[in-house]
Structures are given as C-alpha cells and as structure tokens.
C-alpha cells in the first residue's frame, strides 16, 4: 500500500530557538502584540510503500531516529494516511 507521511520536527522544549525568537520579535513589531512563544521547525512530507499504516509509522520512526531528526535537539511527530488512489485528488 502507498502512504503519505508527514513528519513534523520541532526544537525540543527548553532549548533556545533563535529562529523562533527572531520571528516572535518580528511579529510583535508588526503589531501582533498577543504573540507569545514561537518555535520554528521543519516539515518533511514523503510517500512510502508499506504493508500497513502501522508498518509505515514504524519505518518512519526509524528514519527519524537515524536521519530526519536529531534527538539531542529535536522532537518529532509522525502522521500517516493512505495515499489517494491514482486519478483522485
């Protein structure tokens, strides 16, 4: 089966995120005074052939631990859904 997988990678809580801080300051200066904490992460979208959604998730988890995320500084979150059959959108 074909799956569409999304991996959200974010700086670990408590770790200084200079990009997030810069974006937060910029937003406040653009007159969005309610902006609090901002964290900037990364989104990886991939298509994956696997036997089941669980297998796809498990394989993506290994990808994250090996390459996509650095567990010293980042957390990750995986979403898996079946790919739309060809011809549909």
């Amino acid at each position: 089966m074909e799956f569409e997988v999304e991996v959200r990678i974010t700086p670990r809580p408590g770790l200084l995120d200079p990009q997030g801080n810069a974006v937060a300051n910029a937003l406040r200066s653009l007159d969005f005074p309610g902006v609090g904490d901002v964290r900037v992460g990364r989104l990886v979208r991939l298509s994956l052939a696997a036997d089941s959604a669980d297998a796809a998730r498990e394989e993506t988890d290994r990808m994250c631990r090996k390459l996509l995320a650095n567990p010293v500084i980042e957390d990750f979150d995986i979403r898996v859904r079946a790919a739309a059959p060809a011809g549909e959108s």
Binding site: P18, A22, L67, V72, I73
Partner: protein, 233 residues
C-alpha cells in the same frame, strides 16, 4: 606520519587542513573522497570545515552517512586520532562520536572573525604544546556553532576535562560577550571520553603562519605530532 583529510561535497577548508598537516606536522598528507572505503592507514584523520551537502537537513547530518564514515567510526573505535574542525565537528556530533549538537548561532548571524579561546585542558593529545589556561587567537567562520547538550552531559563534560577550549575575552574571561554563538558554558571544543577525538568550531589550521595573522593554532598540530612520535617510539 600519515594524515588523511576527508573531503565531502561542499568541504572548503580541506586545503587549509592539508597544508597545515604538511607544513606543521611534516606528514605524508592525502585527501580521501567521501565515497572511498579506505582511509589508507593514517595516524590522524582530519574532518575539515565547509558546508557538506549544503548543510541540508542539519549541518553534518548527511555527511555523517557518507561511505567513508563507516571507516572513520571504526578508526575512532580503535583509538585512532580524529580532528574535526567546524563542519567536521558538526559531523562528529551527528555521528555520535562526540556528545551534544551544534545549532544555529544565537545571534542568527554567520560569524567570520577572530575570537579568543582558552585552553581548558592542556593534557589531551591535542593540547600538550599549550600551557594550561593559555589564551589563543583563532578565526571562526560559522552560522551553526552553538553547542548544546542536556544538563547531565554538560556537567559530565565539564567535570571530566572534556571541555578542551572555551570562548573568552582577550583577558581570558569566559564572559557572555566573548561567546560568538551562544554555546553553552562558552564551549568552543570538546574531546571524547577516550581522548582520541577532538571537535572544535574555531579553525586552528587557519592560524599556523604569521602570514595568516596568527600562529596560535600551531599548538594543536604540534601536540598531535608529539603524541604520534611518542606512539611510534
């Protein structure tokens, strides 16, 4: 003495390292391309600075899986000497040969300038040519040199003398102002538990000749030279 300089696509300090190894170490120095599978029996492996694989994903994250890295890991495990400078330090952290990680500079700016760093441990293989506490002037050139690690790792590094270099001001004080990238505890360079793998963000290979503005980096290479001569005897 034999020195292997590993080059990845995007390495740009490889010739500086090559030249420092040849001139200061007087070593038989050669490049090893990242796709090769043989380090050709070196006494020292240098992972040079640069932007391997365009720093895609994270600095050093993809280089860490280059074919040659398997041999580098085995060389390290066997006690071989490895010097990782700038991007090389990032690769060593990504590979797990050194603890912690290097993230975006706190200023968000790429910093290319001379800094001062203090020799925190003059007993490592890489620092015996220096006096304890000696202050060195060396260049940096990086956007992601902000060293981070969890609290326990940080304490362990500090307690066991694995923090080899710290950013300081000209007077030798580790102030926040002297820290060019936000590194925890002003850490500029660390050594692994075995003492055979050193990673640092500043560039000692760019400070080996008066013509370059400083000779303070020579000590790293001179220390390595003495260590290898000692092993050979």
């Amino acid at each position: 003495m034999r020195v292997a300089v590993v080059t990845f696509p995007g390495s740009n300090c490889d010739y500086d390292c090559y030249r420092a190894a040849r001139e200061v170490l007087d070593a038989d120095t050669y490049y090893v391309w990242h796709r090769q599978h043989d380090l050709l029996k070196p006494d020292l492996v240098i992972l040079p600075g640069g932007f391997s694989y365009g720093d895609y994903l994270r600095a050093g994250a993809i280089a860490r899986f280059s074919p040659i890295m398997r041999e580098v890991m085995e060389f390290a495990a066997a006690g071989g000497l490895i010097l990782g400078i700038c991007n090389g330090f990032q690769v060593l952290c990504e590979a797990g040969l050194l603890p912690g990680a290097l993230v975006r500079n706190a200023s968000l700016q790429f910093r290319g300038e001379d800094v001062f760093m203090r020799v925190e441990n003059a007993t490592t293989i890489f620092t015996t040519a220096y006096a304890p506490g000696q202050v060195l002037r060396v260049p940096i050139a990086h956007g992601e040199g902000n060293f981070v690690a969890d609290v326990d790792t940080l304490a362990a590094l500090d307690d066991t003398g694995q923090v080899v270099f710290r950013y300081v001001d000209a007077a030798g004080d580790a102030t926040p102002e002297a820290n060019p990238n936000g590194s925890m505890l002003n850490i500029a360079g660390i050594v692994n538990g075995g003492g055979n793998v050193l990673g640092l963000m500043p560039h000692p290979e760019r400070a080996v000749d008066a013509l370059l503005g400083s000779t303070d980096g020579r000590g790293v290479f001179e220390s390595i030279k003495s260590a290898i001569a000692g092993i050979a005897r």
